[in-house]
């Protein structure tokens, strides 16, 4: 069971958080990125995600390492990112963090998704009627 995974299959949040099962945890936070029907005023038809999968999984693991180095109360991190064609409403990414107590899980969660958008070699193409574009927050 991988904690850091790039997959072409649909993602279940319940399945992802089950990867962190641990009788000593009391709090989990998750970020779930889903496909939105609009972007900069355009009606999005679907998204196409592409990864450099071997490096992407290593970069996801690096984010987990960074988080656990910075926030000592974070017990475990798992990140699953889907690639391929995703329809409106489908889940593109699930990040989950576990801890005994909740206090640091919120900042760590925000860090995880911000960092994912900085360093993980995954790309997103928005496709709308009559056009398409590769998008980045960078």
């Amino acid at each position: 069971m991988k904690l850091f995974e790039v997959t072409t299959k649909s993602i279940s949040v319940d399945e992802v958080i089950a990867r962190l099962a641990d009788p000593a945890i009391g709090a989990l936070t998750t970020f779930i990125g889903v496909v939105r029907n609009n972007s900069e005023g355009r009606e999005v038809l679907y998204l196409d995600y592409e990864a450099y999968p071997e490096m992407a999984e290593e970069a996801l693991r690096q984010i987990g390492d960074e988080i656990r180095a910075r926030w000592k109360t974070i017990r475990e991190v798992t990140i699953v990112h889907r690639v391929g064609r995703l329809e409106i409403g489908e889940t593109a990414v699930v990040i989950a963090l576990s801890a005994a107590h909740r206090q640091e899980t919120f900042d760590a969660l925000r860090y995880a998704i911000d960092r994912l958008k900085e360093i993980v070699p995954i790309w997103k193409k928005e496709v709308w009627k009559g056009g398409e574009e590769w998008k980045s927050e960078q």
Binding site: G33, Y49, E50, A51, Y52, E54, M55, A56, E58, H81, A92, V93, I113, L116, K117, E118, I119, V120, P121, I122, W123, K124, K125, W134, K135, S136, E137, Q138
Partner: protein, 87 residues
Amino acid sequence: MGYGGDMRVKIRFFAAPREAMGMGEIEQVLPAGATVGELLDALTAQYPVLVPYAGFIRVAVNRVYAGREAELHDGDEVAWLPPVGGG
């Protein structure tokens, strides 16, 4: 292993530059000791479609981000990485 003092590296393309290249992977022969920067210059000279992307990319060598000055070795996997957009 290189031959005649040359070495061979694999270059992988993703997203927009992959589409512009029409392929996700090429091999390139370079003089032994060539750097990432020299590879990039050779690629943009050889494939003008890459020029519009060259100012915005990062490069990974064997899956680790690397600078222009990094020295390449025979068999390296170099990735030409446009701005990422996961999440």
